[in-house]
């Protein structure tokens, strides 16, 4: 590849924009996956707590 070729800026920009957009998309998807997993764990813990407490109450 010849980096001194004319219009090389356009080639680099299009690869850059691809990396930025796909990277942002992936990061957004990862972040969402992480926050959903975290909230699920939280809810699970709360649910377990609640069950334990109600179990003690009836015991």
């Amino acid at each position: 590849m010849d980096f001194s070729a004319p219009h090389m800026g356009f080639v680099i920009s299009s690869y850059a924009v691809t990396i930025v957009v796909l990277g942002a998309l992936a990061l957004w998807i990862f972040a969402r996956a992480r926050s959903v997993a975290k909230r699920l764990r939280q809810l699970d813990d709360e649910g377990a707590d609640r069950r334990r407490r109600s179990g003690q109450a009836t015991a």
């Binding site: 590849m1 010849d2 070729a5 004319p6 219009h7 090389m8 356009f10 080639v11 920009s13 299009s14 690869y15 924009v17 691809t18 957009v21 796909l22 998309l25 992936a26 957004w28 998807i29 990862f30 969402r32 996956a33 959903v36 997993a37 909230r39 699920l40 809810l43 649910g47």
Partner: protein, 244 residues
Amino acid sequence: MSSIERFANPTRFMRLQATVQPWVWMITLALFAVGLFLGLARAPADYQQGETVRIMYVHVPAAWSALMVYTVMAVASIIGIVFRHPLADIAAKAAAPIGAAFCFLALATGSLWGKPMWGTWWVWDARLTSMFVLLLLYLGYIAIWQAIDDPRRASRIAAIVAIVGFINVPIVKFSVDWWYSLHQPASVFRTDGPTIHPSILTPLLIMGLAYSFLFLALHLISIRSEIGARRIRQTELARTGALQ
């Protein structure tokens, strides 16, 4: 409760996804490595367009994938509406932002390619125009999901939007081609067709495959998140209901 039954299948999906995910990522990365190597280091520069032709390796696969993802979305919507399968609705919803990103990339790189070729950032060329309409279809679909609160209702309405849009895509393509050929008979340049040289075609196809696998990888994670989000919603609703 009925939700256990409803998520029986999603649970199976979660297990499958966890096993498959690392392999999909490996294949994706390998395809990108090979495709970029062949496209950037091995393939020759075009005798007419010079190095600019290399934009093709990110532009064309993005356009292909945008169309493919819309097809996936429409098929999932049909399955969702006919068989009332919640996983299909979720799959359709999860595909949309990824497809929209591909579509946006096709437009952005197309415009970056157009500037040196045509001297302007935007041309109402048949291909770019169809892509633009496809982006609008994606945005409309995403907006419907945003606008409707109840996921079951949203999935129905969004499915109708996706299916009608899917019927619309070939009609738009046909009409835009007609319109463009009438206003400007000769195509400025061609990126596909039988004249393409194998040294260019091979990396192009590999990049196309790489994009498809990237979609698969991201789609699987998104579906997983969406299933989780629905569980959260349901649990929270049940708990606030119990607190009343």
